[in-house]
Amino acid sequence: MESAITEKRRMVDNIAISYTGIFDTEILSVLAKEIEGTLSPDDKVNKKVFKIFIELAQNIAFYSLERETNAEGNDTGVGTMIIRNYSDHYVFSTGNKTTMENIIPVMEKCDNINSMSREKLREYRRLQRNMPAGEKGGGNIGLIQVALTASNPLEYSLIKCPDGAYFYIVSVRIDKE
């Protein structure tokens, strides 16, 4: 019991940046500045986190089931982003509401990406890049790019919400060098 509390405590203590709300461009730029400028003293690591942030934040903006209209009248996705800072790595997580039918292909894509070597992933990215962009985000390449940038597997989980929707969380570890 004691250690479970300590463990949870540590998870909270390690939060470097967290945000929940609308993922419009205004917020994106505030969060991006925060990541680029202040997260780590190592520019290379900041850039990796930043690249991952852009792709995953855009996925929330485009695909989150929960939506709001921002000040400019644009319909934008709502979600959560958390960056945790540990001694030798960061963990970057995003979460958003979704439906089971929309998220199953995304989870399958994550499994597929995780099963590939770096060489295979680069090949897969080339293949996807040559396909016409089906939807506005080009979400297919985004996840591949996240895995390549982090050089670590994509971890995901799904939580059932009281309203019948699902909350999808994707996390990736970024090693400090």
Binding site: S29, K47, R129, A133
Partner: protein, 129 residues
């Protein structure tokens, strides 16, 4: 027939606009800075059209210089489109040079450039700075 130069000053605001300098007289075309745009297609379509115009009507040598330090994945598709126009021109007998400058600490970027070479079949001079 006159092809107008494209000059766009880059910015780093809510979105990141790359700097563009396409010169019809010298054939030197430069794309630099960072690319993360609200509407990527809308931004790159005129650049692709310009290159098509240059390579089918003006048909002089072209030196394409890329100095992007960051681009998101939707930009990556547009870069492929630009390079494919240059490859078509080269296959057509056009004189094409592509120089891609990148930060030598950015090994991801180096991989990216190598993958573009495989994809397009273009010879890209990879130049670390």
């Amino acid at each position: 027939m006159e092809l107008e130069d494209i000059v766009i000053e880059g910015s780093h605001k809510n979105f990141f606009t790359p700097s563009v300098n396409f010169n019809a007289k010298t054939g030197i075309c430069e794309l630099s800075g960072e690319s993360f745009l609200e509407d990527t297609q809308e931004f790159y379509k005129p650049l692709i059209d310009w290159l098509e115009e240059y390579t089918t009507k003006i048909k002089k040598p072209i030196a394409f210089l890329i100095k992007l330090t960051y681009f998101n994945t939707s930009t990556s598709r547009c870069i492929l489109d630009l390079l494919n126009v240059l490859k078509d021109y080269e296959d057509d007998g056009g004189d094409v040079t592509v120089n891609w400058h990148y930060d030598e600490n950015d090994s991801d970027m180096e991989e990216d450039i190598e993958d573009y070479m495989i994809d397009t079949g273009l010879n890209i001079n990879i130049i670390p700075f």
